[in-house]
């Protein structure tokens, strides 16, 4: 027999708990006797970390070194040797520090170590407990023996830090579901509904008691120990509103409430949950918290804060993945290395957008140390986000010294960093997956359309060749004695030297033609602009080889230009080299200018010198843009190729041209694919451990790897130092998602719980290390994590499990003041969940709900976000001002807002939508007068008030104001107004119109705070 619609691969068995035959859930692999066994081993796991010192090892030596481990070595270790002293080994103690030897052979009690301890000078922060002092004394008297390998200060947890035995690092293990018995021995589940259980009866299928969900047993077991119980189930309207906001971030349709109220089926609730989970609004809603974690922003941040193009592919990928219920382990792995698992497709690069969704400094200065340290900051930012998002640990804290609280060494930080060292921020073009035939078909169509377009240009007298930017020179006849092949090789940097305001579109390409002197073409090759990088460096140039096979007898013409499209830059070329078969250089050109007509300018984005209007040795130029170089090193010029033919054409009303252009656009979208902001995979380079994080003090080189405390035995990726970026990231993704890594499940299960209850089982949802504290319900967290991993890592199943629990469905309102006082006395913050937490809607839900009730919410999904800001530019710097006017194009769900960094003045920010500069696992939830002002006075609010009033009137059957008010209440609050509310509303409406009443309702606590 399956339980609740068959989504759970668990068996329902009848057990002998409590009274009679009630329903219990049992994991398939675990019978009752193993439960007891597991309970016995599970319980101490959480105790270990908290009270380690109380169980002393038996020998004085072990006890003594444990005291050292607890009180001394966190400041006196090889990585962080305070006062130069390392107490992790006997050798270190004998060597001593700045004040001399800490330990004297044969005279332990006269040694500096003991003096400092005895005088209470050390440890510095708190006095050593007498007991610990005695243990140390015994140990010193006994000869002060250290373990041979020294003290491994990460092995065990102490009162001050987590060791490798910390609860959250341990493998997942099955936990038995507790029997939640009340004091009088009755099954409390039967009474938990406060007389309402089961909520709806009448069907012949026996509904499982609504408090039958395994979660409830864990919660009740805990509540029972406090003498508390679950609150009654919430009223139907409250439940449906809560569900709708929880899964869709929108209010429910009134019909959903009405149907649920009328549906007698015991499965009504489960069906409703399933229906809401099946809607695409689910992914739209749940992408928001993930975007917070991914610190997803669509501008670079820092000085220029340039807009990024093609960022939204990542957002749409997340929404799609959630709606498809992509198993969470894959969801994670793909965001790290989808290009390795799925090939270099557009979808893959969309997913990896995660790694580079954060801020990125495009102004790094000229000095080498500035560039190096900027790069290290960038890598730290990625490591930090990765660690917190997927593992709930703060790896970045170990960059300058070993982690102070968790078992993460500096070397491990640099090993994780090494795994991401090949990742750079940028745009790239990537194609969707297409069959070869389909691709070549589209390509030939495209060529034909382009030819037709050129014809139309010619027909209206535009000389294409004169408008395009062209540089032509002759190549001398090159006699190649050894063979016939020339290899023309170009150091090409697609559109490197620009800031993002000059970013190319995906339609720019450098066009290289090799011709005979009569201009018959021998070879024509377009090199599409590739990975665009704002910050210039010589390394951005890539060799592109173009092979022309000839006999070397005649002079040739070489033409460089742009493909005839729009956009500003098509690329830059540093050198052209012509080699023979053996690689010997026959001829070369490096674009040295012979005459400069104007003083150099500074390149936006890089500050490099740019030269315009210059004459170039041996080259003839044509086209509307002058010859233009950037000086990438003093005296070393690179030629910049401009795009821009169509921009310069006089506009035409020719409809054929428009048709052709849109047909070309369409195919390009299908074929040439997309230009997305994602990672640029580069040569990782060497991975040095920087002493104290200082790039001027490199130490040993490390290969990529993970953290030993997590998934033991898997931390070494077994990759060579010179492994490629792809290999490294794939290994990293595998390590993070390996079954043995229990953090993966614990972290996500806890996050989902946080969103459904307003607080995680571990409150600090991105920190399951020492500072994150211990869970309120350790066994429940363990059970959920284990359940999740055995249920295909399905987030939808997890939601369903939680939402069908009595714990989630209980009321947030307590009518009985005596009960409230009792509960508040014992558990003021509701950690044990004796009621549901009522919560204010988050920023996006407030805005979306207003649009929804006003009937204004647009249904377009995906694609570039709507922009509710105007962009001001001063030089290369970008500023984003909220638009004052209300623009209907912006009436999409807030997840589709174009999400800039540093814009903090919209209604969303007022309601705690975070700036996407750092990962935000838990939003602040504040109540401020500025919120009140924005909701009360903003043009958006007033417009929504007007629209919802209009809608209420138009939906009304009569022109009577009471009827309008009733409609208005249903639209905004999904209920009828009572007599007093009607009276208040009638009063206000008669003087100031129905929109004033609407404004009041949109500002009301009932609208914003979900019970």
């Amino acid at each position: 027999m399956e339980w609740m619609g068959g989504m759970y691969p668990m068996k329902i068995v009848s057990t002998e708990r409590g009274t009679g035959a009630s329903w219990g859930v049992q994991l398939p692999f675990c019978n009752r006797s193993t439960w007891l066994f597991l309970l016995a081993i599970a319980a101490p796991m959480f105790v270990v970390a908290q009270d380690l010192v109380s169980s002393h090892p038996s020998t004085p030596s072990a006890a003594g070194t444990e005291m050292l481990a607890t009180y001394c070595v966190s400041c006196h270790n090889p990585s962080d040797a305070s006062g130069g002293l390392d107490l992790t080994s006997r050798k270190g103690a004998l060597r001593g520090g700045e004040s001399g030897a800490a330990l004297l052979v044969g005279m332990p009690l006269d040694s500096l170590f003991w003096k400092r301890v005895a005088e209470g000078e050390m440890p510095p922060d708190e006095p050593l407990p007498d007991e610990a002092r005695k243990i140390l004394l015994d140990w010193l008297s006994d000869g002060a023996e250290w373990p041979e390998a020294g003290i491994d200060r990460f092995a065990v947890s102490t009162k001050k830090r987590a060791g490798r035995d910390w609860w959250s690092f341990q493998p997942l293990h099955p936990v038995s579901i507790p029997e939640s018995l009340s004091e009088n021995g009755a099954n409390p589940l039967e009474g938990a509904g406060g007389g309402q259980t089961p909520y709806r009866k009448g069907s012949e299928i026996p509904e499982p008691t609504w408090a039958e969900n395994p979660i409830d047993h864990f919660i009740l077991a805990q509540l029972n120990t406090q003498g508390l119980s679950l609150a009654p189930r919430a009223a139907p309207r409250e439940l449906v509103r809560r569900l709708s906001f929880a899964l869709h971030g929108l209010p429910p349709e009134n019909s959903d409430i009405a149907l649920f109220e009328r549906d007698p089926s015991p499965m009504a609730w489960t069906r409703l949950v399933d229906r809401y989970l099946g809607s695409h609004e689910y992914g739209t809603r749940w992408a928001t918290p993930w975007m917070d974690i991914a610190r997803f922003g669509e501008t670079h941040g820092f000085e220029y804060n340039e807009p990024r193009a093609g960022t939204w592919y990542y957002r749409d990928w997340v929404i799609g993945a959630l709606n498809e219920d992509l198993p969470y382990d894959q969801f994670v792995a793909l965001q790290i290395a989808a290009d390795s698992f799925h090939g270099a497709t557009a979808e893959a690069f969309a997913a990896i957008g995660f790694l580079v969704a954060g801020p990125h400094n495009t102004v790094v200065g000229r000095s080498e140390s500035m560039q190096l340290s900027a790069r290290e900051q960038e890598i730290e930012e990625m490591v930090a986000t990765l660690g917190q998002a997927f593992l709930g640990i703060t790896i970045q804290c170990a960059r300058c010294h070993d982690h102070k609280y968790d078992p993460i060494t500096t070397e491990e930080y640099y090993r994780v960093a090494a795994a991401l060292r090949g990742v750079r921020h940028g745009e790239r073009t990537a194609a969707p997956e297409l069959s070869t035939d389909a691709r070549s078909g589209l390509e030939s169509q495209l060529r034909q359309l382009r030819r037709q377009l050129r014809e139309t240009y010619r027909a209206r007298g535009v000389s294409v060749s004169k408008s395009a930017n062209r540089l032509v020179r002759s190549i001398p006849a090159l006699y190649n004695e050894r063979g016939l092949n020339y290899r023309l090789s170009f150091d090409l940097s697609p559109t490197v030297w620009a800031d993002s305001s000059q970013a190319t579109t995906d339609r720019d390409a450098v066009l290289i033609r090799v011709m005979r002197l009569d201009q018959t073409s021998l070879l024509e090759q377009a090199i599409p602009s590739g990975d665009w990088i704002a910050a210039g460096s010589r390394q951005n140039f890539k060799k592109q080889q173009i092979e022309y096979v000839g006999d070397g007898s005649g002079e040739l013409l070489l033409e460089l230009g742009s493909e005839e499209h729009e956009g500003r830059f098509a690329g830059a070329i540093d050198n052209i080299v012509c080699t023979d078969d053996r690689g010997e250089t026959l001829w070369t050109d490096d674009f040295s200018p012979i005459q400069v007509a104007e003083a150099p300018g500074a390149q936006a984005g890089t500050g490099l010198r740019v030269h315009c209007r210059l004459s170039m040795r041996d080259w003839q130029s044509s086209g509307f843009n002058s010859v233009h170089t950037v000086e990438i090193e003093p005296g070393n010029h690179a030629l910049q190729i401009f795009g821009g033919l169509e921009d310069s054409l006089p506009s035409s009303s020719n409809s054929q041209e428009a048709t052709l252009k849109s047909a070309i656009d369409k195919i390009e979208q299908d074929l040439v694919a997309v230009r997305l902001f994602t990672i640029l995979s580069s040569e990782p380079g060497r991975s040095m451990i920087y002493h104290r994080g200082d790039v001027r003090s490199p130490g040993n080189e490390v290969s990529s790897g993970g953290i030993a405390a997590i998934a033991p035995g898997r931390a070494d990726f077994l990759l060579p130092l010179e492994a490629t970026d792809l290999q490294r990231r794939e290994a990293l993704a595998r390590w993070i998602t390996v079954d043995a890594n229990a953090l993966l499940c614990r972290v996500i299960v806890n996050r989902v719980w946080h969103h459904h209850f307003g607080s995680g089982l571990v409150e600090k949802t991105s920190d399951l290390g020492f500072s994150g504290g211990v869970p309120s319900h350790p066994e429940l967290l363990e059970w959920l994590a284990h359940w999740f991993s055995s249920n295909g890592y399905s987030l939808k199943k997890l939601h369903r499990l939680i939402l069908t629990s009595a714990t989630w469905q209980q009321s947030s309102r307590i009518s009985d003041p005596i009960m409230v006082r009792a509960a508040m006395t014992r558990d003021r913050t509701n950690r044990f969940l004796w009621r549901q937490n009522s919560r204010r809607l988050d920023a996006e839900s407030i805005r979306d709900a207003m649009l929804f009730v006003a009937g204004a919410l647009r249904s377009e999904r995906g694609g570039p976000g709507y922009r509710d800001v105007s962009i001001d530019q001063i030089g290369a710097a970008h500023y984003y001002e909220p638009n004052e006017q209300v623009d209907e194009a912006c009436f999409r769900r807030s997840i589709y807002r174009w999400h800039v960094r540093g814009e903090r003045e919209s209604i969303l920010e007022a309601f705690d939508c975070p700036d996407p500069s750092a990962t935000t696992p838990v939003r602040n939830m504040t109540t401020t007068p500025l919120q009140a002002l924005s909701l009360w006075n903003s043009r958006f609010s007033l417009e929504m008030s007007r629209r919802v009033a209009l809608r209420a009137r138009s939906l009304s059957d009569s022109s009577h104001v009471d009827d309008h008010l009733r409609r208005l209440w249903y639209l905004v609050l999904q209920r009828a107004p009572d007599a007093e509310e009607i009276a208040l509303g009638r009063d206000l409406a008669s003087f100031h119109g129905l929109e004033s009443v609407a404004r009041v309702l949109l500002n009301s606590s009932e609208f914003l705070v979900v019970d």
């Binding site: 900027a374 009518s815 710097a877 814009e903 990962t919 009140a932 003087f991």
Partner: protein, 475 residues
């Protein structure tokens, strides 16, 4: 979330009946994650400063042209930089040495040297505590500016003002605790992220106060809604929210929401009032230079800052300059022509800031107010040119620059720290931004190691893991 710790207070209040107790603040004393609140609650008797005005010179002003007198630089004028180390500048090179563009004189009773770049500030030098040995961790504007603003080189950390708002708490509910007054010409790069609250609650973020009919966004509903409709609607909202509270008495969020609307209504009165200078005398206006074109912008903002402090605002940040780039420049980043650009910028702020100090002094406010005058880094004593060459500009110099403070708890007419004989690198008593921030917090009664907020696994501090209070600066 943030009201948990205060739950008892709210709850007791509620059971004792609505409206029988006065609210001190709007759920602000909660401070979840806050270890200790400074300011009012724990101020020791020696702490005098309660509030501060921070004047930020954007782009990096030149110490050798203003407060750091280096006679040797005149001697070496036109010579090469000694040694062959690559200087840590933005462009990674440096031209020939270049003496100050303005003559220096000893000023006031203290005899401190100030150049003619700041003739009015020179007159109030006896109130100043000058630090001539500041160092920054980056020669790049944004990281250096962020370090000044937040202690960290990257985006996303709470600004100094947010930390102060969080640590000091509020005196008034009807004005923001942290107000930002940007240069009229443009905002600093990154806009509002420079005064964002990072991971601190949003109530601590800086609020930009402008002019016109909406000095803060959405203060009023605009002309579509008449005042009567506004008032009547407000009353209905209160009525509905009170009714909604019935049966939900334990929910302090709902009470806080009610209160937030009352405070919003009070702000509609208090903000126009503070912006209206009608009650200021002509002498005061003249002191700030509000009547002259060059000084009007900064003068108005300095005067407004004083008025804000008088009404309970804790921290006001005034920017001198905006965007780092642009043509003409809006700030101190004088790569091309130091004399021209510094003269233009100095004229805009010299009289207003000097006027502010005099005014605060005359009103007795300087005793419990700090005026802080900083820049993200200084400028090089050599030209912004390739080795061996000259031009009129100076490059970024994070290795030694000058900032000053004035006001409560400080040793007045005193200069601390020294750069080398060229005014290039700090030589003695180097002061880092964490040291500076620690000292600022100390002056305001806050222990920088105790002012923490838990975020993503770390108890975060303004001073990260650094910072030494500069006791030598204290009175």
């Amino acid at each position: 979330m943030r009201t948990h710790e205060n739950r008892r207070g709210w709850f007791d209040f509620l059971v004792s009946g609505l409206g029988t107790a006065a609210f001190a603040t709007l759920a602000s004393q909660d401070g979840k994650g806050r270890i200790m609140a400074g300011g009012r609650e724990t101020a020791s008797p020696t702490v005098r400063a309660k509030r501060a005005i921070h004047i930020c010179l954007i782009g990096g002003y030149s110490q050798v042209d203003s407060f750091d007198y280096k006679p040797a630089l005149e001697k070496y004028h036109g010579k090469s930089i000694p040694g062959d180390a690559m200087p840590e500048t933005f462009f990674g090179s440096g031209g020939l040495l270049c003496k100050s563009y303005w003559p220096f004189h000893q000023r006031g009773a203290s005899g401190l040297w100030v150049s003619d770049l700041f003739p009015n500030l020179a007159n109030v030098v006896d109130y100043m505590t000058i630090i001539r040995s500041m160092v920054a961790d980056s020669a790049n504007h944004t990281p250096a500016f962020l370090q000044q603003q937040s202690g960290f080189l990257t985006n996303g950390f709470p600004s100094l003002g947010s930390w102060l708002s969080f640590g000091l708490g509020k005196i008034t509910d009807t004005l923001p605790t942290f107000v930002v007054l940007p240069d009229r010409r443009s905002l600093p790069n990154g806009g509002a992220s420079n005064w964002g609250s990072g991971f601190l609650p949003a109530e601590h973020q800086g609020v930009m106060l402008g002019g016109g009919s909406q000095p803060i966004r959405n203060l009023f509903a605009g002309s579509d809604i008449d005042a009567r409709a506004d008032r009547d609607s407000f009353q209905m909202l209160e009525a509905l929210n009170h009714r909604h509270l019935e049966g939900r008495e334990a929910n302090d969020l709902l009470v806080a929401r009610l209160r937030s609307y009352q405070l919003a209504a009070q702000m509609q009165v208090s903000i126009p009032e503070v912006l209206d200078f009608a009650d200021e005398t002509a002498a005061t206006l003249q002191l700030y230079g509000t009547q002259h074109e060059a000084t009007a912008d900064c003068g108005r903002r300095c005067l407004l800052a004083r008025r804000l402090l008088e009404r309970g605002v804790r921290f006001v940040q005034i920017f001198s300059g905006g965007c780092f780039g642009g043509e003409p420049r809006h700030g101190w980043d004088s790569h091309e022509d130091c004399q021209r650009d510094h003269a233009r910028e100095a004229e805009r702020i010299d009289r207003p800031v000097a006027g502010l100090i005099q005014d605060l002094h005359q009103r007795g406010m300087l005793e419990d107010t700090l005026v802080v005058f900083t820049t993200e880094f200084g400028r090089t004593p050599f030209a912004n040119a390739p080795p061996g060459q000259v031009n009129l500009g100076r490059d970024h110099n994070p290795e030694g620059f000058t900032v000053w403070m004035a006001g409560g708890g400080l040793r007045r007419g005193f200069a601390f720290g020294e750069t080398d004989e060229l005014g290039w690198k700090a030589m003695s008593d180097k002061v880092s931004w964490p040291d500076f921030h620690a000292t600022l917090l100390h002056l305001l009664g806050i222990d920088h190691e105790q002012l923490t907020f838990y975020h993503n696994g770390i108890q975060r501090r303004l001073t990260n893991v650094h910072g030494q209070v500069l006791h030598q600066l204290l009175a």
